[in-house]
């Protein structure tokens, strides 16, 4: 009821005016804006570059959405805004590469302490399937430790304290990951196709990366599975109950610890998938953890509690930043991708503080 409280500010007055319009009127205005934009860009419509940028943006958006999804899952079930999601993806990718190549965890540390020279337990490493399975187990164990040692003692703390705790967790994971597997840049290859797709070039003249296309497919599958899981399984129902009201969920016999463990495990698995995609794209290194920073504006746009929001938000930001960079970027110096998403989200939030699909915030006294 933020519109009711306090006398209206100029911004909220405009927002209120927009809200006051009937739905068809809103739709008309929306269509008008889009039509004008496309009128200006009608030349673009026929331009193959425009579509290439547009689709590259969409594909990047899918990758953002993939990371954002991990955030939404944890936020819905525990009210924790998990800043460590990006580092979780880095950690997962590092672990996967470690198993694939047969590294011994903490080799550097062991060597430093004991003066030994261990580094690999096997020259060939584990086969991909076993490496992925082993990484999954690590992520699930990690989820247990995180819930048990960090968030159980912090139950009932204000959300902002939990948020700061996840920043701490991000640092712990970053340090641990580097200590376990070394900080050098690693190549991750799980057999995903690479390089520009020839069939698409032949058909349309657009350069699209096969890896990005397959990432999009994986993301779509993952989202579908998660949605089905949360809508149609008993566990999913419990999960939504916890999201709605911790106390009430407890009182009907749902174990918070177990639910949180599951949620963090799922988030860990999503992180593993995201880490695999991004790692295959640009190598496994520290910068991989920064994709979390890309996912944050996606969340602000889509709302922290909505899975469709994460996807739509990801797509909007992916397309928006690529188009902005391509058409406006050169005139203001380029490299606008770093902040464009944030500015977009910020402007958007001024009009709709709860995001596109978020639940309306009701204030009471």
């Amino acid at each position: 009821m933020t519109d009711v409280t306090g006398a209206p500010s100029p911004v909220s007055r405009i927002a209120a005016a927009v809200n006051a319009l009937s739905t068809p009127a809103k739709a008309l205005i929306g269509v008008a804006i889009v039509a004008v934009a496309f009128g200006f860009g009608s030349g673009l419509m026929l331009d193959v570059f425009f579509w290439e940028v547009f689709i590259t943006g969409l594909l990047a958006g899918v990758m953002y959405a993939l990371v954002a999804l991990g955030f939404v899952l944890i936020f819905k079930a525990s009210g924790i805004f998990n800043f460590a999601q990006g580092v979780l993806a880095l950690f997962a990718a590092l672990t996967l590469v470690g198993f694939q190549t047969g590294q011994i965890p903490f080799a550097h540390l062991i060597n430093a302490i004991f003066g030994t020279k261990v580094h690999h337990f096997s020259d060939t490493g584990l086969p991909d399937v076993f490496a992925i399975l082993a990484t999954l187990l690590v992520m699930i164990a990690l989820a247990w430790a995180v819930v048990h040692y960090i968030f159980q003692p912090l139950v009932n703390q204000p959300p902002i304290i939990l948020f700061m705790a996840t920043i701490g967790l991000a640092f712990v994971l970053e340090g641990t990951g580097d200590l376990m597997w070394g900080a050098n840049v690693k190549v991750l290859d799980v057999g995903l196709p690479q390089g520009p797709s020839d069939t698409i070039i032949d058909a349309t003249g657009m350069f699209l990366d096969k890896l990005e296309l397959s990432a999009a497919v994986v993301a779509v599958v993952l989202v579908t599975v998660l949605t089905l899981f949360s809508q149609y399984t008993k566990m999913g129902r419990a999960l939504r109950a916890v999201a709605d009201d911790h106390q009430a969920a407890l009182s009907v016999g749902i174990s918070l610890q177990t639910i949180w463990w599951i949620v963090w495990s799922v988030a860990g698995i999503v992180a593993l998938v995201a880490g695999m995609m991004w790692g295959a794209k640009s190598g496994v290194q520290f910068s991989l953890s920064l994709i979390a920073l890309k996912a944050l504006p996606v969340l602000m746009l889509g709302g922290f509690t909505s899975i469709p929001g994460a996807i739509v938000g990801g797509l909007i930001i992916g397309v928006g930043e690529k188009l902005f960079e391509f058409y406006i970027g050169p005139s203001i110096g380029g490299a606008t991708e770093n902040w464009f998403a944030y500015m977009l989200a910020l402007l958007f939030l001024l009009f709709r503080p709860q995001g596109l699909f978020g639940e309306k915030i009701i204030e009471r006294v």
């Binding site: 304290i161 700061m164 712990v172 970053e174 110096g333 944030y342 939030l349 503080p353 204030e363």
Partner: protein, 374 residues
């Protein structure tokens, strides 16, 4: 036994709300200040200046700034790095002098030609410029709260760093994209540039910290501080008892950014002598300062100082211990240090959300009754 308030009776409200109501604290504080101003300058050398004392003083100033915003007013900000950059670049522009020409129509320009200004003034102006920018990026706080706001402040971080990368005027069109502090003096004593004396830069920064630390302490115990804390603890109730949320939040952003801006100016001009946006003011600076106030104590001026000392000293200790004594590779020491910081953050949030400052308070409580705890 050693530390007690028995026998201390307050006879006026002024004595009761004093910063150090207990005589022992009062004297100890002034002894520390005395040593800092009168003894340390004679002992200081280059290593202590560049590796420990200057970073401590400068980060302490930034931590006080962020603590005003986050610890006192409850608005979490991750944009500290960006605001440090504003302070640094503003200071640079005022140091080198500027010509500003703003077209006012009809081919006419409104022109302002500023000569290079005195370094102390530049630092203050750097702070004021940052205060202005801080208010701009604080505007969303009127509509959004909590970690929505924290994420929104990241916009400041990324946008400002990008701006100083791309906007050539801010770095005087230098080919490297770096800004470098030329030689500037105060009363004939060099403060910036490569040929400074350790004691001079130290005293310069210490004076800033002392004056503005004191001012911050006064702000948080008076009307304005209570407004901030009221907003932090329960914003709706605060508004209903008559706190104007806009004034309270924006004043917190302004004051906080003013401090961070001064810290940025000192960081660039006095400590490092040079800066460029992507490395010097990256997002890890934002985290560093946030960690200082979490570990030191949210909502405590003393805590800001303790936290700054802690985060500045930790890498030094780790490096000396693991690399110097044990002979381990540097990167392992670094990773261990990152891990330790993370663990400490979590530990403090769980065990002692008010940081070391409150641990200290608890210890004093116990000491007061020692050796008879009942």
């Amino acid at each position: 036994m050693f530390y007690r308030e028995a026998g201390e009776f307050k006879t006026s409200y002024a004595a009761d709300h004093a910063t150090f109501p207990i005589g022992f604290d009062f004297w100890r504080f002034w002894v520390v200040v005395g040593i800092a101003f009168l003894v340390v300058p004679f002992l200081i050398n280059d290593y202590w200046e560049k590796a420990i004392l200057l970073p401590f003083l400068i980060y302490a100033l930034a931590a006080i700034g962020l603590n005003i915003l986050t610890g006192y007013c409850g608005q979490v900000s991750l944009g500290t790095g960006g605001f440090l950059a504003v302070g640094a670049y503003a200071c640079y522009k005022f140091m080198t002098g500027m010509d500003i020409h703003i077209p006012i129509g009809g081919g006419e320009y409104w022109s302002l030609i500023l000569p290079p200004l005195n370094i102390a003034l530049c630092v203050l102006l750097g702070g004021l410029t940052t205060a202005f920018v801080g208010v701009l990026f604080g505007l969303p706080s009127l509509r959004i709260k909590g970690f929505y706001l924290a994420v929104a402040t990241l916009a400041a971080q990324f946008f400002l760093v990008w701006l100083f990368n791309k906007w050539e005027w801010t770095y005087n069109y230098s080919a490297t994209g770096q800004i470098t502090a030329g030689e500037r003096d105060l009363f004939g004593i060099l403060i910036t540039g490569p040929n400074t004396e350790p004691w001079a830069t130290y005293l310069f920064c210490l004076t800033f910290l002392f004056i503005f630390g004191w001012a911050a302490r006064n702000l948080v115990r008076g009307r304005i501080g209570r407004q901030w804390m009221a907003i932090r603890d329960m914003d709706i109730a605060a508004e209903i008892i008559g706190v104007n949320p806009m004034a309270a939040k924006l004043s917190a952003f302004a004051v906080s950014s003013f401090y961070i801006g001064m810290a940025g100016a000192l960081y660039f001009a006095v400590w490092n002598g040079a800066a460029e946006p992507t490395e010097s003011f990256a997002i890890d600076k934002s985290f560093d300062v946030l960690f200082m106030i979490i570990i030191g104590g949210l909502g405590s001026i003393t805590g800001s100082l303790i936290g700054a000392a802690f985060i500045v000293l930790l890498p030094v200790v780790f490096k000396n211990l693991f690399v110097g004594v044990l002979g381990w590779p540097t990167d392992i020491a670094e990773h261990l240090q990152i891990m330790t910081v993370g663990l400490l953050i979590i530990l403090f949030l769980i065990k002692e959300p008010h940081g070391i400052a409150s641990l200290w308070g608890t210890m004093k409580e116990k000491l007061r009754l020692w050796p008879f705890p009942y």
